[in-house]
Amino acid sequence: MKVIYEKPKSISDKTFHYCPGCGHGIAHRLVGEVMDELGIEDKTVAVVPVGCAVMAYDYFECDVMEAAHGRAPAVATGVKRCLPDKVVFSYQGDGDLAAIGTAETIHAAARGEGITVIFINNTIYGMTGGQMAPTTLPGQVTQTSPFGRDPYTQGWPLKMCEMLSTMTGPAYIERCATDTPAHIRAAKKAVKKAFTYQIERGAYSFVELLCACPTNWGMTPGEARDRVGSEMIPYYPLGIFRDICDIKEGK
């Protein structure tokens, strides 16, 4: 029996600790598939965050560094500046990237640091049990916005792709979703393009993946998947926000 599709080689055999239906698993798989297809597992250093993906070092078979909360872009900068020929990516959640690590995120992008950032947006702090994130939608109930996020007292959600797309440094910024097979296939293309931009151009690339968090949203995996499409995508529209190739070609 010939194998047509199986778990990527750059993802370990360890069973994910993520909850049933969690988007992290899909994001891991996409990164793993891209590492396999580009044949870069042996020359890649992953920098993983604090949050639910804190133990991603158990899953990625490439070399991995575990960064402090929000500091992954700084750690990745340190690695990439020493090893410009290696592939370096950070994998970060919304609390990590868009709250405590906003400065690191923006300045790594401003420098056009030759790294790839995989940004998991599930509108909530998952690891600590479901608190309000910088990306929590207006009205969304979390442990720390028990009456629904009130933007007038708790701030408006950060749209990271839109923010970063105003900058000159990044070469490629795209937002994708992981709810439908079509969206997941598009996300895979985006992740591959992001890594390719780094490898071929030494450029900064950023892919935001809208993901489900069934447990902390208080939903079944199916309901959570559907919320990505019904609530998140309208607020966080999918698409390419910056592509240096299009800009150069005057598109």
Partner: protein, 67 residues
């Protein structure tokens, strides 16, 4: 002919594959043993190996083979 195979060490019975299956031949067996002790997806006859289940699976629990 292709077919999907569920890895019981990885499956958590989230059911996303069953929802996505265009042939509706994947079911969640709540009694089958799997990563979390019980509950696992099962593929019944009629799989065409389209791979949609593998695309949506968050646990990389699905392998596609040609029979």
């Amino acid at each position: 002919m292709n077919t999907a195979e569920i890895d019981k060490k990885r499956c958590k019975a989230c059911g996303l594959c069953a929802d996505a299956c265009p042939k509706k031949i994947i079911t969640i067996n709540p009694y089958a043993e799997s990563a979390y002790g019980r509950g696992c997806a099962e593929v019944s006859d009629g799989c065409v190996g389209c791979g949609t289940c593998a695309v949506v699976c968050p646990d990389i629990a699905i392998t596609l083979r040609s029979v």
